[in-house]
Subunit: 111 residues, 2 copies
Amino acid sequence: MHAFDVLGDPVRRRLLELMAEGERSSGEMTAIVLTEFGITQSAVSQHLRILRDAGFATARIDGARRIYTVEAGPMREVDLWLDRFRGFWTPKLEALATEVARGKRQRRDKP
Amino acid sequence: MHAFDVLGDPVRRRLLELMAEGERSSGEMTAIVLTEFGITQSAVSQHLRILRDAGFATARIDGARRIYTVEAGPMREVDLWLDRFRGFWTPKLEALATEVARGKRQRRDKP
DNA sequence: AGCTTATATGAGTCAATTCTAATATGATCG
DNA sequence: CGATCATATTAGAATTGACTCATATAAGCT
């Protein structure tokens, strides 16, 4: 499943937002998403599985709980895809700074 | 339609990639996507409409042709959403450069 | 004007996705 | 141990989304 397909669902985006604020148990996230979207525990669990399968999150077992952590990999892919559009909104000087920030992943012109 | 829902489709992503390389007519893009994905002109036109409706592209009329241009707005939204995850992969110093690059859109701590 | 090219739209079909309901697994606690 | 809590899984129903086919609109050509 392509990273963008995963991000195409609002519940999954919300789950990732929650994890971005710090580790969360399945239960905490379920409680929140349940009130916000009105879906069942089962549905949330299925979304969490999709996030795990696509590498967006990992879960560590803590007793009866699963603690979820967001993972950078697929998010970077998305960010990388966006690179080709940065020129359309980033002023030139700032673009240079971004270039530096990104560690000049790719060389665009000869030295 | 949320920006990420729009990007969730591979044909639409491809169309945006093509526009990112420069303005394109509907016909040019249709020809390419048709060979790559094997879908009809109608399907491509419907995808282009979704891109227009969501503000990802605008079309200018040139005789019988429509020339499409990619628009920054929604792409920036996506980039902004990604900000909250940057800390998970950007080393601290580079994060600072990104901060500069983004013009310090938001203040995170008191002066 | 009539034919062709370029693109868009609408209706209906089909497949993929998401949801609920029911159930399973495993930890915890009395 | 039996009950309960936390989470996952499976099966099937409901929904959504993308596609094709047919048709519409408008420009360009002869």
